[in-house]
């Protein structure tokens, strides 16, 4: 029989549930975790409601976290992967019994100054999960492109998804779950994109509504160079194909399946537009059509970039515009290659309990947080 921990003994008395706990799963995050805890506290979280679970860290992640947190709020476990670390923390800290909601965030996450205050005030009674707004930290041209992508993806697409009830992924940077549904979720899937897996479980098990709270803004670190970017988008696309296959997306009637099929069709059309269609035009010497397509794409792409720069009050985003084309092709390459690997070759059926962020971290400067 397993004996209860000291922490469990200390908290067994029945008390009213607190509103929100924050769990930070971490693997070798000594460089950034103090900044994350600091911004979480400044954004409205008590230190006593922040929990760190170190998944096989070999650095001083736990020691650094404990400079701020009560000694019982940090936990170390052998490396089992992020999802298992979260589940372990939820069980160990008795989150379900003690809190109404649990927020899971990346240990390199940065929160806007009102993030948790907004969340606590806006979490609705009729929802079981929520996601906030994700923004890129200021950085190089990859970060500029990500700002463009996140602005379009969240300001437009995420609002439509929330309206339709088809949010396909609650990003790991800003994932809030009602503790009542934790027991219904399976954290043992070892998915490459565990956040998308959890989200689709909520849909498939009809656990309830997922809401988008744009007023709660979180920031994420982006890859600092092209190899890192390729590695990240490959993981995203592989994970997306893997999770969609696991949840049999497209094989049932319903708005979620319809919406996600539309997303795939969009990518296929973009692939045809940027590769096959120009090749056919060139081969057929129909240069006028090719030129018109290019100009239309350019005008629309540039207009959205201008809008994104204006909305974020970041004119610097425009400066990297020509290089964005390159990243669009990288994304298409990743989309196709991941489809071939997952759907045709049936590779990556499960994920080793590793951390994709290993080696990516860099020290976050305060000025990197966009106002």
């Amino acid at each position: 029989m397993r004996l209860p921990s000291f922490f469990q003994l200390m908290t067994t008395q029945a008390q009213p549930k607190r509103k929100l706990a924050l769990i930070l799963p971490a693997h070798n995050e000594e460089m950034g975790i103090s900044f994350t805890i600091h911004t979480a506290h400044a954004a409205g979280m008590d230190f006593s409601d922040i929990y760190v679970v170190s998944d096989g860290s070999t650095d001083r992640t736990v020691q650094v976290a404990l400079r701020y947190l009560p000694w019982q709020n940090a936990l170390h476990q052998p490396q089992q992967g992020k999802a298992m670390a979260v589940k372990h923390a939820i069980d160990h800290f008795r989150i379900v019994e003690r809190y109404e909601w649990v927020h899971i965030a990346d240990a390199d996450g940065v929160f806007s100054s009102t993030y948790f205050t907004e969340l606590k005030n806006r979490l609705p009674e009729d929802a079981v999960a929520a996601t906030g707004h994700v923004q890129s930290l200021r950085g190089g041209w990859i970060s500029k492109y990500r700002t463009f992508e996140y602005t379009l993806g969240l300001e437009v697409m995420r609002r439509i998804q929330a309206f339709l009830g088809t949010i396909p992924v609650i990003p790991g940077a800003t994932c809030v779950l009602r503790t009542e549904i934790i027991e219904d979720l399976d954290f043992t899937q070892h998915s490459l994109t565990e956040d998308m897996d959890i989200t689709l479980q909520i849909h498939r098990k009809n656990l309830g509504k997922i809401v988008y709270i744009p007023e709660a803004k979180a920031f994420t670190q982006d890859p600092k160079d092209i190899p890192d970017y390729v590695k990240q988008v490959m993981r995203w696309y592989r994970g997306a194909w893997q999770v969609m296959a696991r949840h049999k997306i497209g094989r049932r009637f319903g708005k979620l399946d319809a919406y996600m099929c539309w997303m795939i069709i969009e990518e296929v059309v973009l692939l045809l537009e940027l590769t096959v269609f120009p090749a056919i035009c060139w081969w057929g010497q129909n240069y006028g059509l090719l030129a018109a397509m290019f100009l239309n794409d350019l005008i629309i792409f540039f207009a959205i970039t201008l809008w994104s720069a204006g909305l974020n009050r970041r004119p610097d985003i425009i400066s990297g515009f020509p290089l964005f084309y390159f990243l669009r092709f990288v994304n298409l390459y990743a989309f196709l290659r991941a489809w071939y690997e997952i759907v045709v070759e049936l590779k990556f059926s499960s994920d080793a309990p590793g951390w994709s962020t290993a080696g990516r971290r860099y020290r976050i400067m305060t000025e990197a947080v966009a106002k």
Binding site: W141, V169, L289, I299, P322, L323
Partner: protein, 55 residues
């Protein structure tokens, strides 16, 4: 598709389908070449500034 968004690919195709019959294809080739050249110069200048420019 996962956590990001590309521009809706149907938009350029739809606008081309509308604009092209009305104006004639030959008008666009020169403009497109100039735009492509401009983008290339812009990209080179950006990379050069990022690599050698003052921080």
């Amino acid at each position: 598709m996962y956590a990001k968004a590309s521009i809706p690919a149907v938009l350029p195709i739809a606008t081309t389908a509308v604009v092209l019959p009305a104006t004639g294809a030959h008008n666009f080739v020169g403009i497109a070449l100039a735009a492509a050249a401009g983008l290339a110069v812009w990209a080179v200048l950006y990379v050069a500034q990022a690599k050698f420019g003052k921080r």
